[in-house]
Subunit: 283 residues, 2 copies
């Protein structure tokens, strides 16, 4: 497994592979890898075959963090990430520095303007501008045939798909299912923040999803507003839990719906202690 | 010479060339081609060699026109453009429709935020957003090794270079010299608008540049503010001429300077009748 830190070297290798007809599968990550990431790596391998190359980028992208967010304390453990990637048969990890990714003066951004305003975009202004910009950069450096994103970041995946289509990147964007702990908590590098009792309370996100799924199976249609209120109450029974948002929306347009039914998508963001967790699922 | 209208076909061909190690040279245009464009085509051929492919795109990009600008009456003559490209040895022209380039819903834009605000950006808000967005799209569809832009659009060329570097497009951006008519008027598709006496008056842009170049050779440094005033008066001696802007700036940062000297860059935009003309040169 190669460990590349230079953007120019990464691109030179990728251009060489392309010229040789080698297919490139790509999993962009912020590191501190877990089993969810590894499932994306396996999907990437499936997509490009044994003759292809699987590239994982490990980069905590500063432009997608707000000023009061956890950029500096975001968990990092490159040694462990390298070991996991090696075991999973990754061909190359790309681990650039900030200077490598954002040489000064830097002044170009990619923005998506229809799917980015609600939910995560409302709670984290300029977050998605950071995501689309870094993904565009990584696509140009890694030149993947296919890139795999996790469904846990549902809105992100939708925005990356839209950007890829709008800007005509020759990349197939694949969204792979959310990986969960045995109690249902969606895997996330940020779960590391959940110490002691907070870890137990965090399962309330998944419990909420299951609760609504059961309701929709029974009742067919439900009013979104009252359902949100019920869910909020249910979630905040956990002493450390505070709802950031609960949204019922159309999974294609991401527009909120008033009537919740089968096919409606649910996404939620909840603070558990200081840690902001997200989850989502189709109903 | 191939004539391609489908974005998907364009990209498929380009991916095939890349896989075969065929170098691709690209000249993006809005059509109504003239000798200036042809000089860009020859430069592209030089860059990729006889074994390479030269692609010219012909697309009047709506997103770079303001609501009160000349999008709908911008001159078009595809037959003539095709003939010129054929004679010049172009391998492929890409002539997409608006539906092909901006399928609905379209919501992703590329913006450059440091070089885009002054001069053309001030006179034509959102113009450069349209330019960087369409160039990013065309880069992804044509997958060029090298792309050639004209120096007549100096600010555009600087912004495209910055975008290419910031977003890591694997494209060498080359800026080729401005082509001029025998009396010095910079070649432009918009010169078609200049009927009768207006064509004669239009040479005042080039006369202004030469005037300042001569002054700088003689005086070494000059105050930008008073020089602007002198130039404005000189230009507006032409009855149909009205200055939009005159700017003296650093050619790397595009920041205005107070002291004009050798190496300072001059750019100007002048309405001649209803037609807005631009020109620029190093001093």
């Amino acid at each position: 497994m190669r460990n590349i830190t230079s953007a120019a070297t990464m691109q030179r290798l990728a251009l060489g592979w392309r010229r040789q007809g080698v297919r490139i599968g790509f999993v962009p990550t912020m590191g501190y890898l877990h089993a969810g990431h590894m499932s994306l790596v396996r999907r990437a391998r499936q997509l490009v075959g044994r003759a292809g190359k699987v590239v994982v980028s490990i980069y905590v992208n500063p432009t997608q963090f707000g000023p009061s967010e956890d950029f500096s304390r975001y968990p990092r453990d490159l040694k462990r990430d390298q070991a996991l990637c090696r075991v999973q048969g990754v061909d190359l990890i790309f681990v650039p520095s900030d200077e490598e990714m954002y040489p000064k003066p830097f002044s170009t951004f990619v923005t998506e303007g229809q799917l980015s305003d609600a939910m995560e975009g409302q709670s984290r202004p300029s977050h998605f501008r950071g995501v689309t910009t870094v993904v565009a950069k990584l696509f140009n450096l890694v030149l993947p045939d296919a890139a795999v994103f996790g469904a846990k970041d549902f809105q992100q995946a939708a925005i990356v798909q839209r950007m890829t289509r709008d800007l005509n990147f020759p990349v197939k964007v694949v969204v792979a299912p959310t990986f969960r702990e045995s109690d249902g908590l969606a895997m996330s590098s940020r779960n590391k923040y959940l110490t002691g009792d907070l870890r137990t309370q965090a399962v309330v996100l998944w419990q909420s999803i299951q609760k609504v799924q059961a309701l929709v199976r029974k009742k067919r249609t439900l009013g979104a507003a009252s359902l949100k209120e019920q869910l909020r109450e249910f979630i905040e029974l956990q002493p450390a839990a505070k709802v950031d948002y609960i949204e019922f929306f159309d999974p294609v347009t991401l527009r909120p719906v008033n009537e919740v039914r089968g096919g409606t998508h649910l996404a939620l963001a909840v603070f558990v202690g200081q840690t902001r967790l997200i989850d989502n699922a189709p109903l």
